[in-house]
Symmetry: C2
Subunit: 176 residues, 2 copies
């Protein structure tokens, strides 16, 4: 995986792909599936997300204030749904779903080797955590796997139904 | 357009489509393109979004606390990009781009007839507006155009480049 300029992170998350969120607490890594996230600022890249206090990842995210957002392509759909349908309280999801944890540079949460992009993030605002489980993250380091060409991402419509990215179109626009 | 149960709103926004946001202030309607939004809660459907204070829509949204999120299909791509590349301060975008404003039921902002879904929204939280231009909305009424079958939505990668929804896949999952 090679470095991706932080100014390009929004181009990965703005289209709304399903992502995997990793955390690590007390020496134990966990991963969940997440679709409730959005960009908040271009540079430094700020990202808001909802991590429910019913999710096992919630406590780790709140206490360590670190996570990784890993973006899976369509080929990982079964692993993503699998990770979304069980809890890290009961199982080691990396092991169960054959996901490879790779040490990150700036956070304790691991990267996921199989994902085409990985964003190391720190929690920068928790003011809406109490009311909405809404965290604001800053991406402090971004990785891209250049070997995965034109990855197709997944977009969740509920209960395991996804739209897969189709063709790309390009219209004239000056807006980032 | 017919009524859509509020409990299904998340299935439209969770996949991360580009949307149009309408506002109305002092008898004048406006529309902007938006990709920075996410679900916050299923029912009642809460949606967070970023509307920059550099956008002409910002003042109308903050003062009226009302808006409509209209979801365009791929056929409207040129109108979406057009609306995203000019300001309501200068032009009547409904007129310029041939978008039809239809009165909503519960908010002053108009629906857009050409969009396959329209969500009437009220601002319910402004605590992060000062810091991040982040509004939390509640969808109070939702409309769906049953005549538009299997609409393909747009997912923005920056500068007018979009992924269009491709095929749908269905995996076994108990998660909403």
């Amino acid at each position: 995986m090679r470095n991706l300029p932080l100014s390009k992170v929004y181009q990965l998350l703005e289209p709304g792909p399903v992502v995997l969120l990793t955390t690590a607490s007390k020496g134990r890594a966990n991963v969940m599936a997440m679709s409730w996230h959005m960009m908040v600022e271009f540079t430094p890249p700020l990202v808001a997300c909802i991590v429910s206090n019913a999710d096992y990842s919630f406590a780790a995210l709140r206490s360590t204030k670190e996570c990784v957002i890993a973006i899976p392509s369509r080929e990982l759909a079964r692993k993503v749904v699998g990770a979304g349908n069980c809890s890290g309280e009961d199982v080691d999801k990396f092991k169960r779903f054959g996901l490879t944890a790779v040490p990150a540079k700036q956070v304790s949460a691991p990267l996921i080797a199989e994902c085409f992009a990985n964003l190391e993030c720190k929690v920068v605002n928790t003011r809406l955590v109490g009311e909405y489980n809404l965290f604001v993250l800053e991406a402090v380091k971004a990785w891209i796997d250049a070997a995965q060409k034109n990855p197709k991402t997944l977009h969740h419509h509920g209960y395991g139904e996804f739209s897969v990215d189709g063709r790309r179109i390009k219209l004239k626009s000056t807006m980032p």
